[in-house]
Symmetry: C2
Subunit: 661 residues, 2 copies
């Protein structure tokens, strides 16, 4: 039997599906009807005024025996342009300035033609649709029709309630296979040295992800000088005092400079993309937030509120002790590792065969694996705890999560190295451990993060394809197939893990750089393949993520800067402890320590002065931003002048007389 | 003969003089006429639409034989309200929120009545008049009429050109003697313990000066705990290791906390005053700025431009070497001081009479005086150099000046103490020098800054009074007298010197606090009188300054924070060097140094964590600011919604059909 997936739905003739909404299989008809009516309703009636249709019509559904409730959401071109104005999209004008898009001034924007649908990228359209869906708010509804327990209150985002009640299973944007193929070709399939097509990544995946890849690339290139300078130190075993100092000083200054210069390149990119000047939207409560209905002092609306002191209590009485316990546990595991190491060494010394030689490396590898496992377990615990702390805003949630995870991962990954360096004072072991940890974690990450999911995904996709073919329907069911395939793909959970990996790598490279100068080289090698595996992951393994505008890498900039401050301290200490340096001050160790401390303080001061002296934005961006500000102030002034001129015309003359003297 | 200073001038019947403009005595009639016409011209004709009249009319001038060109500027009530809107004044509404004042919504502001002239304080009115005068811009004029060399270009501020050409000698606001007397009564004339009337100071002198007095008071109270805890250390000569550490740790944590808490109190005050939410105005080039006419990339106007690289060259090739030379010179003087000190000591030891005992203190006192002189000389040089660097904006000029002056004053005041502490390692001498420097500089400052000028001012005022009485005019000439008196008063050059004094005091108190615990007590004593002498200076010695809105103490917050970071380092080093602590580690000095360094790093880390963890704004201010932002975003959204609803009505239906599958 033939199934035709007719495009002519009841609502609209021209329809490009942008976003898929999957409802639970047992959703009541009443609820479906209500949701549909709210999504298609006119803006003035409080609707989203979007296009909405089921993936399969009733007949097709019955034929295929498909019980899934899949809906496609789209929007007319005009609706998208108005949405672009509502989200505050910033675009380049024909005169080269960046301005917030408004429908009225649409013709002054570069690339806009009335008959042109390409003005907004598909990622932008999907972002706009998502924004409109999330801003679809309850009016008089006190609950979701058909679900008396899913309470609503005026102003509550309907979609968020549907998601938390499990009525909507997921909302995700569709891939555009043609564009994706083009992007892949330019990005990672050809094995040649070239920059990543950051602008294309941005138009396909949005700014947040493009910034991650931009940072990954920038960071890799920034590491190359450190890798190159480190090579001869490793090859020729340079261990003189002055060469050490030169290497360490270069590394420390360099790491400050690259972080500052990144801020500038980042501003450059985000200005071009418009996100640097984009106005921040008011942040809605995160989906998981719950509380007692009360009047929010900020919005003035009746909303769930959660008292701040309760949250503080949860943080300080539960989360903090838990984190400390985890840190203690991590240190405990570390001590076991050192026992194992001792044991392996004693076995090797007793019966020095080749096998026991290999045994020497086993504890390190096991420890590296255990660290990875602990990091992942802790991550889940941290997510649970942070969610339980019940933060109102997504940004607060993220900050608390990042802080928890960073502290633990830092200790978990680096504690053993600190122990070896400053307690055991065994530089050779330090170099060895560093190498083992770095390489093991990189290999594990590449496998767990991209290749394994890719393989799983491939297997699954074969299964789905077979299933679709088994239907023996002779039809052009590409959209149906695409939706079925993509809805089963994993969800990309944001750039957190990717940045974390880079952050730990930066730690391995910079904290003990003068002991193991090869670390930078390994990091560079890893990152060259990391680009490809991350790109593969984005394009093939996960559902397409919603584009998210962002103007910088946010809290990670601070994290990297903190790491580079800590690395000044560790490197100075390492140099001070090296036997070569100690040989220069054979009599007075105190003098040596004082000199090292002085140098450390000078370096730290230099870092802060450099960070202060290098402007965060390049000059041409500063000028452009100043121009924007000037224009808006001028416009305001013009308005005042006009008003003043009008008001002063009516000013009453005369009045009371005053004696001036 | 009788002279009547008639208040009924040709232009306006109701007239409260707010601001005085003094023109040079030989100004051409043509120029006067032009200036007058521009000031009174209607807003729509590019004028300032202010009221303007000579202090004396022609007849009176001839009678008095007065050649001075003094003019009074005022404004009608309506004009002032419109001006308040133009400068972006923020006021409290009847519903308790802070909003930018607009004339249309005037009735929603607390304290506004149509028949009420008290809504704006006199300081605000004067600020508005100043803003309007400064924003009086050239239109077609290519030069100032009558002065072909005083070039103008469209958009150039007329008043600034008049000032730089010496045609206008000065522009200053008038005192309001009744309000001033009330303020003085509440402020410093009654000798009783009470808080300063910061809000009244603010309404009379404006936010910048009120913030200085607020900071002075806050800082004094914040020093009291340090002074109290320091007293027993001095009295009982507590010199145990642990007591030292307790004292130093308290001081260091305390100084971090007070600076953070100040930010919060400051936000609290400036929110109440409206300056925290006041929109920044576009910054005009500073009066002294010169350059070649070109198109400014920011404003798009034809303006004088000065290439940035030339300024950089001046900074790095002239200013920087000059500052270094001055620093070197200061160190040289310091070495001479130590030679003198040695000489005095040797004289005293040879012939130990009482006289030579006094002689021991002479070098310190001389050095303290020399330091003050050098600071003042350097200050002039720094001002000259910074002006010569030709910064376009007043803020850039101020930043470069502050940086130059701070670095030099820091070295000049503290170098000898550092030398005694860390090279001579003579703690007793350090305590002595610190006391001498602190007390001498405080005494000198109080005299030079307030009492001497007050005395001079008093003498001068007598002279003027006698002169006015000598005219033997039997008239109510109080306004005439007031203007004559005030125009001869010195000009208050801003809060720079006052903050600098506090900054150096903070250095004396915190850098070596564990050696001389009495410093805080002296600072507290000084500051209690400093409040009165500074208040006297503001009210009686100087011309009334124009009110200046500001939301914080700006760069000084950073300066104080930097000082408190440096003081962590010095105090840790001092404790590490003390014989008591050294006695605890008799064998291993290295261990001691390492422990001290570890403690120092821990304290620094604690400082940064504290600074990070204490929110800069109190929670209720955060909520109010969030509410303001929310409202403006909501308003924007409403606007978009309305537009969207309108546009979507006209949306064309139908169009091309697309096959979805």
């Amino acid at each position: 039997m033939k199934v035709t997936l007719s495009a002519v739905d009841t609502y609209e003739t021209s329809f490009t599906p942008l976003v898929v909404i999957e409802l639970a299989q047992d959703v009541k008809e009443e609820t479906k009807e209500w949701l549909k009516s709210r999504i298609v309703a006119k803006k003035k009636d409080g609707g989203a005024q979007l296009l909405f249709r089921p993936l399969l019509n009733k007949q097709e559904k019955e034929t295929l025996g498909n019980k899934e409730n899949l809906y496609l959401v789209g929007a007319s071109g005009l609706r998208l342009l108005l949405g672009a104005e509502a989200v505050g999209l910033v675009r380049e004008c024909t005169d080269g300035t960046m301005r917030a898009f408004t429908y009225d001034t649409r013709r002054s924007f570069r690339g806009f033609h009335d008959d042109n649908d390409d003005f907004l990228t598909m990622a932008e359209c999907q972002f706009i649709v998502k924004h409109e869906l999330e801003n679809l708010r309850a009016r008089e509804e006190r609950m979701i029709p058909g679900y008396p327990h899913a309470k609503l209150y005026p102003g509550k985002s309907i979609l968020r309630r549907l998601l938390t009640s499990g009525i909507v299973l997921q909302v995700f944007p569709l891939h555009d296979h043609e564009a994706l193929r083009k992007l892949e070709d330019a990005w990672y399939t050809r094995f040649s040295l070239h920059y990543q097509p950051i602008d294309s990544i941005r138009s396909y995946f949005g700014e947040t992800i493009a910034l991650y890849f931009g940072f990954l690339e920038y960071f890799t290139f920034a590491l190359i000088p450190m890798a190159i300078i480190g090579l001869p130190y490793y090859l020729f075993v340079w261990e003189d005092y002055d060469k050490y100092v030169v290497f360490a000083s270069f590394n420390l200054t360099w790491s400050t400079v690259i972080l500052e210069v990144w801020k500038r390149s980042c501003a450059d990119m985000t200005y071009r993309w418009g996100t640097l000047v984009m106005k921040r939207q008011f942040e809605e409560p995160r989906p998981g937030f719950h509380g007692v209905l009360g009047v929010n002092p900020v919005t003035g609306r009746e909303e769930p509120l959660y008292p701040s002191y309760k949250r503080q209590l949860r943080i300080y009485l539960v989360s903090l002790p838990f984190v400390c316990l985890c840190l203690y546990f991590s240190l405990y595991i570390m001590m076991i590792y050192f026992d194992l190491e001792d044991w392996a060494l004693s076995v090797h010394q007793e019966s020095g065969t080749e096998w026991t030689g290999v045994l020497l490396y086993v504890p390190s590898v096991i420890y590296a694996i255990v660290i990875e496992i602990m990091n992942r377990l802790y991550r889940c615990a941290a997510e649970f705890l942070t969610a339980w702390e019940n933060h109102r805003l997504e940004s607060a949630y993220q900050n608390h999560l990042v802080l928890k995870v960073l502290v633990f991962n830092f200790l978990n990954c680096f504690a053993s190295l600190f122990y070896i360096a400053f307690v055991l004072k065994d530089m050779k072991l330090l170099g060895q451990s560093l190498a083992t940890l770095l390489i093991t974690s990189q290999v594990i990450n590449q496998i767990l993060e991209s290749l394994l999911p890719y393989w799983l995904q491939k297997k699954h996709s074969m299964k789905v394809k077979r299933k679709v073919q088994a239907l023996k329907v002779d039809m052009d069911a590409s959209l149906y197939k695409q939706v079925l395939l993509e809805k089963e793909m994993g969800t990309y959970l944001g750039t957190f893990d990717d940045y974390l990996e880079l952050f730990l790598q930066f730690g391995y490279v910079s904290l003990f750089s003068c002991v193991y100068p090869l670390a930078a080289a390994f990091a560079v090698l890893n990152n060259f393949t990391e680009v490809s595996s991350d790109a593969l992951k984005m394009c093939r393994v996960f559902k397409r993520p919603f584009s998210e505008p962002s103007a910088s890498i946010g809290v990670w900039q601070l994290a990297f800067e903190t790491m580079s401050v800590i690395s000044v301290v560790t490197n100075c200490a390492l140099i001070g402890m090296s036997p070569q340096v100690n040989a220069v001050f054979p009599e007075s160790k105190t003098e040596l320590v004082l000199i090292v401390v002085a140098v450390e303080h000078a370096l730290l001061a230099l870092k802060f002065i450099l960070a202060f002296a290098i402007p965060d934005k390049p000059r041409h961006i500063q000028v452009k931003l100043a121009r924007l500000e000037f224009e808006s102030l001028e416009a305001l002034k013009q308005q005042h002048m006009k008003l003043a001129a009008e008001s002063l015309k009516e000013e009453p003359r005369g009045g009371k007389t005053e004696t001036g003297a």
